[in-house]
Amino acid sequence: MMNPQRLSLSFSSTSYKYRFVQGFIRALKRINRQKLATSLLSRSSPTEIYKRYLKVKSAADASMASAVGLRRAWSRALLQRIRDQERINFGNKYYKYCPAGTRIRGKSTTFTMIRNIKRSSDDRNCKDQESINNGALGWKANELRKLVPGGEAMDMCNLLDETAHYIKCLATQVKLMKRIADFASA
């Protein structure tokens, strides 16, 4: 999974792993506290399980994104997305329940700044980008854009770059979550 000899190898997996596990376990603990707070009857109802599933999933994504930090476009976009969703879901309780490490207020301006900078630097590539978008690869690239968080604003080159890093992080996330799940169920 890690290719130490390439430029996309700014991937220091150990620190990502540690931070991810830390944040994720804390979020899981919090979610379990909430679970215990609900009545025994409703605890295993499908609705509750579904809600918990959503929380766990967003906690996992948020921990991974915050482990990566803000240096990657996809992690920034993912954190922003999660934050927006949480704000919608929980209203003013949002900040209290922020997963560890994502409680960065006033960072939305940074996000927009960064996004604008990236967009302007991508403009010069739009001629070549057009050819890709209009070609046979165009719709596939758009499919990929939908999958990778923050992909809509990227040109092909950066999109592929982000996809590579995103795949690595996703694979790490899956691996660690598997271990946690096995540990928890064992």
Binding site: S8, Y18, I25, Y53, V56, A60, V148, A164, L170, A184
Partner: protein
């Protein structure tokens, strides 16, 4: 000839100096891009009399010019030599540009290999006629083009080509001599044609010089445009792709290494439009990234082609995301034993274990399709989860 050899050695050693070292003082040596290493202007050495004086050039260049101009340029970004070349040196400029273009078509990425083309050209020196030399006149920016010296005849061309090829490998990544020899042959065929009709060519030459100048100026302009355009922070990526670019003067050549430009040379037969050059750079970047992705996605080693590769990438990303969802569902249903021993969890196997349950490795390698991706994990929970998931999808709608 020994003197020439010395010069050749000197050229080889002179890194990032203009190939015009040979004609010495007047030619700015800076035209060498930072990557140029040791131009072996053995051909030039041929031309340079010990005095290095003008008359030699003045008399000698005409046939060369005529020869060179009949060559197909392919719009190499030769250029800046024109700056240095005052009228007495117009011909050499032309010559160089022609040489550049002729050499450029051998370029394979990275374009340092463009220097390789010089190799076969040099071997063309053959007869003492300048015309021969023109054909083989490899130009400056070539790194480490071995000192071919001046082979006395054409026949030894092949030998010299091979030797040059061998020698030139030190500096650049040079395509094999086989490639070089074929354009060499092309040259050879044309070269004898131009031996005789020198005078009629002079008129053509006059025009072509102007054309050259215009092309040179165009290329120069393109360079100017390109600099602000292609200016990027290219770290390891672009360094591989940096080709020799002839800086305008010594100051520039001193600056360009620091500025992280992507220097691209147009290959033979390709447009020198700055847009197309920039596009080519982008395309190379994209294909490099696709290669990286190919290594990441399992089972994509045999896939060639962007479309299929993108399909696989999309499938893989989708499967990974689905796995995350399944795992989080599993964690949502599991009992919270996590309350205990977080530190134990952290310090222990989760981070470091490679072995462990067989269930961990349910997702084996060789995943060829999306269907292969999820199943491994869910040996235990498979029956329950798929059944409940659709219900979950419908429930929130019902409840909300």
């Amino acid at each position: 000839m020994s003197g020439q050899e010395n010069e050749n050695v000197g050229f080889q050693q002179s890194r990032s100096e203009g190939f015009l070292n040979c004609p010495s003082s007047r030619m700015a040596t800076n035209t060498m891009p930072e990557k140029a290493s040791g131009v072996t202007m053995s051909s030039l050495s041929m031309f340079k009399p010990p005095t290095g004086s003008d008359p030699f050039f003045a008399s000698g260049w005409d046939p060369l010019v005529s020869l060179s101009q009949t060559e197909n340029f392919g719009g190499s970004s030769m250029v800046t030599q024109g700056e240095f070349c005052n009228p007495p040196y117009n011909n050499p400029v032309v010559l160089e540009s022609q040489g550049m273009s002729s050499t450029s078509h051998l370029v394979q990425y990275p374009s340092d290999s463009s220097f390789a083309e010089m190799v076969p050209k040099l071997s063309c020196f053959g007869s003492g006629s300048f015309s021969d030399m023109v054909g083989s006149f490899g130009l400056p920016q070539c790194a480490g083009i071995a000192s071919t010296g001046c082979p006395p005849n054409y026949p030894p061309n092949s030998e010299t080509t091979s030797t040059v090829g061998g020698q030139s490998q030190d500096g650049c990544q040079i395509s094999d001599g086989g490639i070089g020899s074929s354009p060499n042959e092309k040259r050879r065929k044309r070269v004898p044609d131009f031996n005789s009709p020198l005078s009629p060519d002079k008129n053509a030459e006059g025009e072509q010089v102007q054309q050259k100048d215009s092309s040179i100026s165009d290329v120069r302009k393109e360079q100017d445009e390109k600099k602000p355009k292609i200016e990027e922070n290219s770290s390891g990526n672009a360094r591989n792709k940096q080709t020799g670019k002839q800086a305008k003067d010594s100051a520039d050549s001193g600056e360009t290494p620091k500025e992280n430009y992507i220097h691209v040379r147009a290959r033979r037969g390709q447009a020198t439009n700055s847009h197309s050059l920039a596009e080519r750079v982008r395309r190379e970047k994209i294909s490099e990234r696709m290669r990286l992705l190919q290594e990441l996605v399992p089972g994509c080693n045999k896939i060639t082609g962007k479309a299929v590769m993108l399909d696989e990438i999309i499938n893989y990303v989708q499967s990974l995301q689905q796995q995350v969802e399944f795992l989080s569902m599993k964690l949502a249903t599991v009992n919270p034993e996590l309350n205990i021993d977080i530190e134990r969890l952290l310090s222990k196997d989760i981070l470091n274990s490679r072995g462990g349950n067989g269930a961990l490795f349910g997702l084996g390698p060789g995943i060829g399709s999306s269907q292969h991706y999820p199943p491994g994990i869910f040996q235990g929970t498979m029956p329950s989860i798929p059944n409940t998931a659709p219900q979950f999808a419908s429930l929130p709608q019902a409840s909300s």
